[in-house]
């Protein structure tokens, strides 16, 4: 199975390990990823809070390039990129006027043939036997709190691959990897990443709450699907501990890293060495 691959900016910088692990896991599963040549920013948060047209146009250019490449649907690991591309696809499909306007701006038309799918959706949709067959190092009942964040499954009219209030696709994958997804209430709560610079106290509290609820639910680690969430929850733990007098030490990893680990891939291949709170299952 082949997809056009849109990694986005984060996966080339702070979220490098998401890119590494996504490619490694897909490679193992026989999924071909062809990166879009000359892709640009998807327009997440800054663009769509300043100009709707700019936001759609940025994503539309990527969509058009991907379509021209003709390598199948576009698969996107990052939750924010996925959401932006999916929103643009929906709006362009519903509004021929907008599609024309955007085509004039970008110089390319997107006819809507290439779909947009999140990597979680694609992996979650694979045959379970096929997935299970790759598991050589099951996680031995490790308790994982699957954290979907606020963007990945919302709004349902745009995303639609999982339940917006109680998503389960990541839980299912984690279970296949031999871990035990814990039921918890903060699967889709906001982590406040967007306010990390402008209003840090708010972000710290939101991060604390998520970690707290996960820990009380008995989680040994958090699993996520968004470079912003991951970075926010992982890198800020020390700061949270200092401010709130807590002692969190919960590894926060990408679901692709967890899967890759179960597939027996090396820490290096999965970028596990890049985590702030180290992931050492069984230790």
């Amino acid at each position: 199975m082949n997809y056009t691959y849109y990694a986005g900016c984060s996966l080339h910088a702070t979220g490098r390990e998401f890119d590494l692990s996504a490619r490694a896991v897909c490679g193992r599963l026989g999924i071909g990823l062809a990166e879009i040549p000359d892709w640009n920013c998807c327009g997440a948060s800054p663009a769509h809070s300043t100009s709707h047209l700019l936001a759609v146009a940025l994503s539309a250019r990527n969509l058009a390039l991907a379509e021209a490449q003709g390598a199948g649907d576009i698969v996107v690991p990052c939750a924010a990129c996925y959401q932006r591309l999916a929103v643009a696809r929906k709006e362009l499909g519903e509004d021929p006027g907008l599609r024309e306007q955007v085509a004039r701006i970008t110089g390319r038309d997107y006819a809507g043939r290439a779909g947009v799918r999140s990597l979680l959706e694609v992996l979650g949709g694979l045959d379970t036997e096929h997935l299970k067959a790759q598991v050589t190092r099951p996680l031995g009942g490790l308790k994982a709190a699957c954290y979907y964040g606020c963007l990945l499954v919302r709004p349902p009219a745009v995303t639609g691959f999982d339940d917006p209030e109680d998503p389960r696709s990541m839980d299912d994958l984690v279970r296949l990897a031999g871990a035990e997804p814990v039921p918890w209430g903060y699967k889709t709560e906001c982590c406040g990443a967007a306010h990390g610079v402008a209003n840090e106290p708010v972000t710290l509290k939101l991060v604390r709450d998520i970690l707290e609820v996960a820990r009380r639910a008995g989680a040994d680690c958090l699993v996520c699907a968004c470079p912003l969430c991951q970075n926010n929850l992982d890198a800020r733990q020390e700061h949270v501990n200092r401010v709130f007098g807590t002692d969190f030490g919960l590894p926060v990893l990408y679901f692709t890293q967890l899967l890759g680990w179960a597939f027996g891939l090396s820490d290096r291949d999965l970028g596990l060495d890049k985590l702030f709170v180290k992931f050492r299952p069984g230790v």
């Binding site: 339940d163 209030e165 109680d166 209430g185 609820v213 009380r216």
Partner: protein
Amino acid sequence: MPRTGVFVCWCGSNIGGVVDCPGLAAEAARLPGVVISVDEKYMCSAPGQNKIIEAVREHRLNRVVVASCSPRLHEETFRKVLARAGLNPYLVEMANIREHCTWVHGPEPERARVKALSLIRRAAAKANRLQPLSGSRIPVTRRCLVIGGGIAGLQAALDVADAGHEVVLVEREPTLGGNMAKLDKTFPTLDCSACINTPKMVSAASHPNIRLYTWAEVESLTGYIGNFEAAIRQKARYVDHEKCTGCGICWEKCPTRVPSEFDAGMGDRKAIYIPFPQAVPNKPVIDREHCRYFKTGKCRICQKLCPTGAVDYEQEEETAVEKVGAVVAATGFSLFDWAGAYGEYGYGKYPDVITGLQFERLVNAAGPTGGKVRRPSDGAVPQTVVFVKCVGSRDEAKGRAYCSRICCMYTAKHALQVLEKVPGARVFVFYMDVRTAGKGYEEFYQRAVREGAVYVRGRVSKIYRDGGRLVVKGADTLLGRPVEVDADLVVLATAVEPAAGAAAVVRLLGVNADQDGFFQEAHPKLRPVETHTGGVFLAGACQAPRDIPDTVAQAGGAAAKVAGLLSRPELVTSPMVSSVNEALCSGCLLCVPVCPYRALEAGVITERINHHPARERVVVKVNTGLCQGCGACNAACRSGAVEVRGFTNEQILAELEALCL
């Protein structure tokens, strides 16, 4: 020769504030056939009506045009005026220059004036061609069918029965009582629901004028006002109620436990059961789906133990036919299925998130916990209880747009009950608004606040389980802050919806439903218990969400209408129904399937043309009792043989000509 009078109404400033009524009257005076034209502030008032009567006498008028509001509002009024003036009431024609003109064209008075004049011209042209009409008489079966045995149906049935007419009361559950029977206490007086409801159930069952069917449904209704025929399907109970004494041995010994519908799943019942101890009738039915004997062919315990040999697994359902003259729909309400829509409240997977109706069962002394407030998960007495209002109400995204009207009050009641029954309990109520219009209602709500219920203005965004407790996250919009409450029990005030199966009843009765599925009244203010189908009336929550006081009042109103209808041995039908010109009818019968009221059927006439021998010929016949005068047949008839009286082709063409030429 028509001598037509035109009467232009100001309707205060509704019409008079936009167009010049005296000017309109002056112009109308020049229309063909018009002999006098005047204006008046309120034509429907006593001086206005008298003005018409005097003008009829003075100018020997034989046609009247009233240019005022919609005929839906006052056509009947002016017909009566004509009758008092000594004219046939059908010689009046209305020009609607309010709803169709000044209300919508207020900003353009000049164009409104031109349009008003066109409408009057149309009405005068038709008036000149009006013919006197009179209805036919039909006999009335002086019995009434009431569908639904909740408090609405009980009250309506008792009132009609007390007025001396026979009533057929049909309830689809094994017992009378409806939702009210499930309640513990009732706001705003906190009197016990059973104490006021069960006596009515007993009276209805023992009333000599009431024929009771429970565990039964109306399968079809044919006929028309005064002359309906209902087929009632009596579902098999597998217990012969003639023999059964209600001793209770069977349900005590039955080995099969099933979640009780009556307890809203908070408790169990047996496979052979009465829904609750005070049920009427107090005799059981077997739930075939769960009964061990029906499932496996083994058991028969109830049959073996029954001292009177009443259990009969071979019993079959039966259909009875009842003739009635009027029908009251009282099918009540059910509650919105929140679990399917509110994922943020856990999709129903947390046992301690319950509905208000389930809470009623938990506080009810006759309920599964004997009236002790215990949460379903572990039976512990909850110390912190959170109530969430407007779950599915006033929420178009997930539920219904409307306000369910009863929840503010019953939530205040529930809050009081928790505070009274659980010493030291903490109660939080999340609300959007507190709506307490009703006698003694605001005082009742204030009492809940005084006794310690904490009202938080804001919606609940999430409920999740954290260990053994529930966390309720919401916003306090008055403080502008997110709030979080750890709760032991959460009670959702879920939206009131039409009863399950209401749509089928709507079709059965040939009435309309509103956009939410509630039964549509004929007029929201002036005909609140009538429907557009003659002889069919409404009572209770099937028409809109309402509490017990309003339900009882409306049921009494419906009963009064029924009693009025049944007090007469005969009815005069509307003459504005279709009629067939048999000479023109070719018998093609194209109109028959077109009629939505099934009022047309083939008939045979014998005719003799010139000197040919007499022969038989098929023509269409109209049942004037069924015909509603909609005109569908008129449009379908190729030879113009079917016409609706009062809307003949000649009249309509004259109107068009006056409007367009």
